[in-house]
Assembly symmetry: D2
Homo-oligomer: 90 residues x 4
């Protein structure tokens, strides 16, 4: 069960579609023999876009699910999950 | 002008299409109200896939364009470009 | 005001002193003209050690200060601070 | 064998000593029960300083050892070493 407000959800999907467009361009660049460095910067744009989306999702998660778990005295699992995400990012 | 061998190019496009599939799944998960943490791990899978593709592109770039530039005594710009990519990754 | 348990505090200081030792070795390696790649791996060891320490500190922070703020209905600032740390790590 | 110019070497040691000072402050902050978030930002300052030092070392390495290896037709190992450093950073 999740608690994403409708406008947050729409904002995330909108951004994900932009990331999809950037990723499609990476493929076009590879197929069109574009310069390696330009492709690496384009790939980086996709990754940056995804990180910003991750931030929106994580912030929403902390404000809803994690906060609820803490208020209900069941914080341990919720915090462990957040720490796992954090460790992967490092 | 680039020097990507045909099989490297095909391997990169193949991997990019897998990343595209993972990214499409992120959108489906958002639209289907999947659990935030699961979405963050799926988004991470896309980013990991792109990093591995970056590595193939960068290694190929070092072995071709950068090596050529160095042999031709024009290493400064080539090295500056690689350093820019490296700094963005940190 | 912080809520670090005494044993957590001792564990963090112990690890920080190990990181200090690794960092001192980086300086010795530079001064002794060690091979660049070996120095970069030694510098990476310091950074990995610091990231693990960050994880202990952040987990403790989520379990104490952030949890308290959420229970007291003052979650917004606490979550904003955690998000700032998270964004810097990306 | 390395090829670090004397001024580069001095610049790196100078920066490493600044990083050492930042790290010492992290220990003081832990021992003095400073606020977790402030400690995390201080730890981040050490990591940022080390990354900038890594960049100086890597750039120097590309301009000297790697360039020499490429000119001598022995690029494979040199490029593999650089790729290993790059992959660790991601």
């Amino acid at each position: 069960m999740t608690y994403r407000p409708k406008d947050t959800k729409e904002r995330i999907v909108h951004r994900l579609k932009i990331a999809q467009g950037h990723l499609k361009k990476v493929i076009t660049m590879i197929e069109g023999d574009a310069y390696c460095i330009d492709i690496l910067h384009q790939s980086d744009a996709v990754q940056k876009a995804l990180k910003e989306i991750d931030n929106i999702i994580l912030e929403n998660h902390l404000k809803s699910c994690v906060s609820d778990s803490i208020r209900e005295g069941k914080s341990d699992e919720a915090i462990a999950e957040v720490m796992n995400v954090f460790k992967k990012k490092q």
